[in-house]
Amino acid sequence: MTRGKFERLADEDLMPLVNGKDPDAFAVFFDRHAGAAYSLAYRIVGDRATAEEVSQEAFLSIWRSGARFDRARGSVRSWLLGVVRNRAIDTLRRAAGRGPRLDADDEAALVARPAPELTEAEALRRETSREVRGALEALPREQSRVLELAYFGGFSQSEIAKMLEMPLGTVKGRMRLGLEKIRANLAEGVS
């Protein structure tokens, strides 16, 4: 199959070919998601060289592990970015001597996550970076702060409670309210 044909395939149909160790299919997969992967890694680790290293490890781990992607569990992009996030957080925690990572392995999020509804997946595809940034910025600062510390900082909710010197219950509440607001904004985007 030529590269042009691979490019016309949806991610979900491309992954079995990546799984079959087709380097051209993998190149299309890489080109589609490298920007998002590198940007996320850079946001988490904060320097270009480490972000590059993390992105490289994430892509090669997918290539070597046979891309154990399960389409019933969500989008390919969310899965890949989950792998990138785990590796970036790992790197960050190791560098800071913060002990073991929170997720067991690259597959952890995928194994546990339930399949999103189709309408939601479609809504996510339509989201632009700016709109999502807007959704985060629209949150009260105390809510966006705990979400950022958790997702981009790799801190557990207990660590966040200690760091911000507030009760654990408050951190839980802010996480819940923050996610609920983003989720509600997404739901509006669907309708």
């Binding site: 380097p23 190149a27 490298a34 997720d103 996510l124 970076s129 839980k172 983003i182």
Partner: protein, 220 residues
């Protein structure tokens, strides 16, 4: 503590879980609970998209070109090495081939027998005649003649294959006569077929070879 209280307790942990901000032991306990609680699964399913959009909220940067070069060069090199390894295996370039016990004939070793492909050589309980194979081509069809084939194990049969590059195309199955000889009409070889191989397979044959070949004869 009622079931409702327990569920409520876990529900409180779902946002942190979705964000990857639960400690490992708590995550595992929550996963156990999720397996049995549709209400929490439903709630997590609803929350998850809010987490999935967080990566899109970061400032987007073009990935460095060197990253692409390195990753794709590694991938191509590994794919090439893997193809090469598969091809070597089928060409018998490895001295030790993994064979199914059924084919091993006790302590028999599998040897590469040069121009006649592979031969089986017995040891311990006496010499065994080497397997010999010839592929003839007539009017576009291939005919395989083999001698000294051992009786297949149990219900197994022999199956012929055409090797095209590193792919194996299944051909007919056959069983040897009591003297170990067999003639199999393989039909027209696929274009660019390079070799005919024979493996032992379960009754009815297989879509892919399940063991090492005991015959590998080049197609002239």
């Amino acid at each position: 503590v009622s079931d409702g209280d327990r569920t409520h307790r876990w529900e409180e942990e779902l946002p942190a879980y979705a964000l990857g901000a639960l400690e490992s032991d708590q995550s595992r306990a929550l996963e156990d609970h999720l397996a049995d609680c549709e209400r929490c699964r439903e709630r997590l399913r609803w929350l998850q998209p809010a987490v999935d959009v967080l990566p899109a909220s970061v400032e987007q940067h073009a990935p460095p070109r060197a990253l692409r070069r390195r990753v794709l060069a590694t991938v191509r090199e590994e794919a090439r090495a893997e193809r090469q390894e598969r091809r070597s295996w089928w060409r018998g370039e490895r001295i030790t081939l993994s064979v199914r016990p059924a084919l091993a004939l006790g302590a028999a070793a599998l040897l590469v027998a040069g121009a006649i492909g592979y031969g089986l050589s017995a040891s311990g309980d006496g010499e065994r005649e080497p397997v010999e194979a010839v592929v003839e081509r007539s009017q576009g069809e291939a005919l395989l003649r083999v001698s000294a084939l051992p009786e297949p194990e149990g219900e197994d049969v022999y199956q012929a294959w055409f090797r095209v590059g590193n792919r194996m195309r299944p051909s007919v199955t056959f069983s040897p006569a009591s003297d170990g000889s067999a003639v199999a009409e393989l039909g027209p070889p696929p274009r660019r077929a390079e070799e005919v191989l024979v493996t032992q397979e379960p009754p009815g044959g297989s879509e892919e070879p399940s063991g090492a070949p005991i015959v590998a004869e080049p197609l002239s």
